[in-house]
């Protein structure tokens, strides 16, 4: 099953990866260990999850203004997500990704999607992000919800 969602690129780039989905905002500083790519905020529902190489889908950032520096360091170390999808623009995360392009010529795209579209991405979906913000969603097995398929 393949679907296409039209997102808006915040930091444009292409990427592929399996989704890790959360409905909770997160502060990358104090929330992500840039050495390991593990979520460490014990108050976050995905605490313990490795997000390296994944497409991390969550509403947006919160908390510390050092989040940009943590994202930059995780991109440098290769522990960052493959891409980020948010429901609203988070300038602090965008900044981390932009400085990574300037300093290290490494790209980690960020796309914003409507909250409704964000909600249609399920854990483990295979996502392909294009430069123009288009997201192709592949789900290998349909999720059985008891409702008619979307």
């Amino acid at each position: 099953m393949e679907r296409v969602l039209n997102g808006k690129p915040v930091v444009a780039g292409s990427a592929k990866g399996m989704s890790v989905v959360s409905t909770q905002p997160i502060s990358f500083w104090g929330g992500l260990d840039p050495q390991t790519g593990v979520i460490i905020d014990r108050r976050h529902e995905r605490c313990g999850e490795v997000i390296t190489g994944k497409v991390f889908v969550f509403p947006g950032g919160k908390g510390s203004s050092t989040a940009s520096a943590v994202l930059l360091e995780s991109i440098r170390l290769g522990t960052a997500p493959a891409a980020i999808i948010n429901a609203h623009v988070d300038p602090i995360l965008a900044l981390g990704a932009i400085v990574a392009e300037v300093l290290y010529q490494q790209s980690m795209p960020i796309v914003v999607l409507s909250q409704k579209d964000c909600g249609t991405i399920k854990e483990g979906d295979r996502l392909t992000i294009a430069k123009n913000g288009t997201i192709t969603v592949n789900r290998s097995q349909p999720v059985c919800t008891g409702k008619a398929p979307e």
């Binding site: 915040v10 930091v11 905002p25 502060s27 500083w29 104090g30 929330g31 840039p34 460490i40 905020d41 014990r42 108050r43 605490c47 509403p59 947006g60 950032g61 919160k62 908390g63 510390s64 203004s65 050092t66 989040a67 940009s68 520096a69 943590v70 930059l72 360091e73 440098r76 609203h88 623009v89 300038p91 602090i92 995360l93 965008a94 900044l95 981390g96 932009i98 400085v99 990574a100 300037v102 300093l103 290290y104």
Partner: protein, 425 residues
Amino acid sequence: MHVKLSVIDRQKFEGQYGDAAKLAMSILVRMADVCGATELMDVTQAHVDSCALMSDSSLEFAERLAAGGGRVSIPTTTNMIPLDLQNWQRLGVPEDFASRALRLAKAYTDMGCVPTWTCAPYQGYLTPRFGQQIAWGESNAVVYANSVLGARTNRYGDFMDICAAITGRVPKAGLHLKDNRKGQILLRLVDIPPKLQEDDTFYVMLGHFMGKLVQDRIPVIEGLSANATDDQLKALGAAAASFGAVALFHAIGVTPEANTLDEAFQEGSAEHVIEIRPSDLKAAWEDLSTAAEGEKLDVVILGCPHFSFAEFRQLARAIEDNPGSSCANSRTVVLTSQSSYALLKRSDLLDRLSHFGVEVILDTCMFHSPIIEPETKVVMTNSGKCAYYAPGHLGVQVAFGNLRDCIRSAINGVVCREESLWKEC
């Protein structure tokens, strides 16, 4: 690029003002697109948080700007640095870590920053004026500057602050513009007992509840006491900016853009009205601690954000309530700035605090500098911000308590908290 640049902006962008200004302007231009700004505007003060994190990339960025001729063009203060510049050897910070932190500090002072090294810049040198356009980093400082002082800044991430300081420019967007500062959610305090509202704990719990609830919206608090102190408002903002992304709150009759409800909402109305009752705050209090009563306590951490002189005085009073006592059974650490410490040294308080066993740590904090032993298991604090981040960042259990609780617990070496505050809630 969609943003319209002035002649000088363009010259900076094209490199006529040197490599650092070019790099800074290229980042600003991209960030203007991110924010949807069509032009840049002047700022007249900056507070740089980019010096806080000890990472290779943060150091590389700072040294590249400094080597590229970067000089701040507006008065610029610095957030904490990952090192107590005076006491790091005594604190056992490894030499290689210290030498990198010193390079980080040097890069920012070489660029002309004022070496304040504090996360509470609003209680020291260069406090911004009402209405002043500024570019501040550090989440607790941002919310204080916007809300309590009425200065105007967005929540600037690390690197944006120094780019703004070098160029004196930011994208014209967000909280720099009056229209975007109007209240969105009305929080009405209902049936809060006066005794509760006088206690510092109240402000932390309100910040915790508010941050989680409103996230990045602008709350307007109705019913806050006009007697709230600067330190209580600091604690409120710091908690709200940790549990949420609050960059600005209004409090009717307390903060300068909210003399009336109409002023706070700029003649508009609230999107939501929410009542906050003592039971909500009690639930926040219960949620904030992960360590149980009676657990063995390793360290009490005070000063997150950095302690003011008034807070040192409060601490001395809490200690005097327990005559002849000391914290022999657990460390009591207070984080502060050199400027508060200078006042402390000139008062009679320092001896009294030292006698109890208080360790004063300068310029830094335990989240950025390795000053808490790795085997530490239980931490107690009077800070909502510290209580939020400590479990994940330090890998510890945390207990929240007010100053009196923290001091009693430090004396006993176990977590003990007064629950009478919540008896009628």
